[in-house]
Assembly symmetry: C2
Homo-oligomer: 327 residues x 2
């Protein structure tokens, strides 16, 4: 299998590369080649049984997409995006990267012709939904995004369904829960605090909680998010019929429940590192976000995730902290 990962230098891209290197195969077949692409240089490749090629390029620049698909990758993971905060601040950049970039990719695939029809796995987001919504959003609820980022993702979902229906790709758009606990440094996403309040205390550092502890949100660990991508590739898009956008399972819990889990897993002392400093603007953004889903379709298709936030914290400790709690 020849694999292309666009947005390979990001958090999820790196996790996926590491997972493929470890497994050596995907969907029951050996990986023969992996091409990594991003606008920045990807980190050094992990040891792997297959060749790893690394490119720097911007999918929204003319000709870039054609170069990337010229080798005819069997599976394309398109993870590249400008995050929500940045797409809101820079309107043009958001549309260029998140919409035009994806359109360029789809058109490059279609233009290849000759029956070329790769599996395309696109990371969408729960940001395609906007308030007001029911307590648990079902699989037939409308996409009414309240950000430009969410709009761009919702549009890409529609394009992927149409290009799949027309036979140009075998695509799917996987609506990721908020990935928590996000390792590394904060990015520009307004959702950063959900991870900060766990990751920073576990590293002995202070974290700011800008919202009320009653705020409820929808989470999955980086490990679960990586497994979603792998599961999508195994399954193929045809299993989704004409509706190629899929809300993935996640864990719905409040910030208070996150902090209780942190206390259970790492002790009361760690909790002292979290300072509650309400931020009106973040409160307001978060109020428009989904809190809970009924991801019945994805569960029936074999997607699964953590059952408790304790599990999500344990995954972080295992995968990022070599299993060690702070002293």
């Amino acid at each position: 299998m020849h694999i292309l990962i666009i947005g390979a230098a990001g958090m999820l891209g790196n996790k996926l590369v590491a997972r493929l290197a470890r497994d050596g195969s995907i969907a029951g077949r050996p990986v023969s080649k992996l091409v990594r692409n991003d606008v920045v240089l990807s980190p050094p490749p992990p040891p792997a049984s297959f060749e790893i090629e690394t490119h720097i390029g911007d999918l929204s620049s003319a000709g870039e997409a054609a170069k990337l698909v010229s080798g005819g990758p069997d599976i394309i993971f398109h993870l590249a995006a400008v995050v929500s905060g940045e797409a809101e601040v820079d309107f043009e950049k958001g549309y260029r990267v998140n919409l035009l970039g994806t359109q360029n990719l789809l058109e490059a695939i279609r233009s290849k012709g000759d029956g070329y029809r790769p599996t395309l796995i696109f990371t969408s987001s729960i940001a395609v939904f906007g308030a007001p919504f029911p307590d648990a959003i079902g699989d037939e609820f409308l996409t009414a995004p309240l950000t430009s980022y969410g709009t761009q993702k919702a549009i890409c979902e529609l394009l992927i369904s149409d290009y799949s229906r027309r036979g140009f790709i075998d695509g799917m758009a996987l609506r990721m829960p908020t990935v928590c606990v996000r390792p590394g440094l904060p990015n520009k996403a307004a959702s950063g605090f959900f991870s900060n309040i766990i990751r920073e205390p576990l590293a002995g550092k202070e974290a700011i909680l800008p919202v009320d502890p009653s705020v409820r949100h929808w989470h999955a660990s980086p490990r679960a998010a990586t497994q979603f991508l792998i599961r999508g590739a195994e399954m193929g898009g045809t299993a989704l019929g004409n509706r190629r956008a899929l809300t993935l399972p996640g864990l719905s819990c409040t910030v208070a429940e996150q902090l209780e889990a942190l206390k259970r897993v790492a002790g009361a002392k760690v909790l002292e590192k979290v300072r509650h400093v309400p931020d009106e603007s973040i409160q307001q953004i978060v109020a428009g976000w989904p809190r809970n889903f009924d991801a019945a379709r994805a569960k029936a298709l074999g997607f699964s995730t953590e059952k408790t936030f304790d599990d999500i914290i344990r995954v972080h400790i295992e995968d990022e902290l070599q299993g060690k709690l702070p002293n």
Copy 2:
């Protein structure tokens, strides 16, 4: 009020121009100027109390949109589109006209800057929905189109909501029922027969019914469709909040009910002109179409339509046949 109509040479465009010429005003203010644009020459303008300018141009060509908004129209009706059948046959043309054309318009408006923020009324379609759906589709049902045309309309809806939220336009996307009875000659829409089976017999001509009489669909007269556009301009998009796409009211009835209404209004003899010649390909297309809606939101906002198919036929006889039934 300075009005721009894009797609002015089409059936609905002509009806709207005639209505504006008759009223001389819109949303309680006199019309000062009307600019008509289409890819083909519009028919001679009706007598009006205001100047009518006529342009030929393709919104999807570079620079065309900027020219059209250079005069700063207060209200823009964007009715131009490649119809469903054609967008399905010619993939590139559909995306160019229906998506890129609308994107060009939105970007031309945004680029004007200086606080320019026109009312934009965009004709969307019930083709944004695709089976399976509930008996009556509510205002929170997902858009899962089964045609490229429906995909393009659904994408434009998302863009219009986002550009409105960002303050570049005061927009709305009005999801038109199937307009019936469509006057004039058939176009490439697969829905043509819904009108043909009424219009042709009333003109003393034969019509083919390609589907089973049990087929249920969602209709509004050309007069009601024109009134939807006027009502949208009166209301303004702000009344729609962040969800700028609106399913309009219509009449849900079966083909059998259409034919019974025709018999009641025009007599049993007229009915003999309808020949049932089943067409498997049209049957299959129609099976994916919505049949009924609960358009609660639009009704609460003052949009209304015919209550019986008899009324729809009477509107056709009044508006197109000078009130005369065939001999």
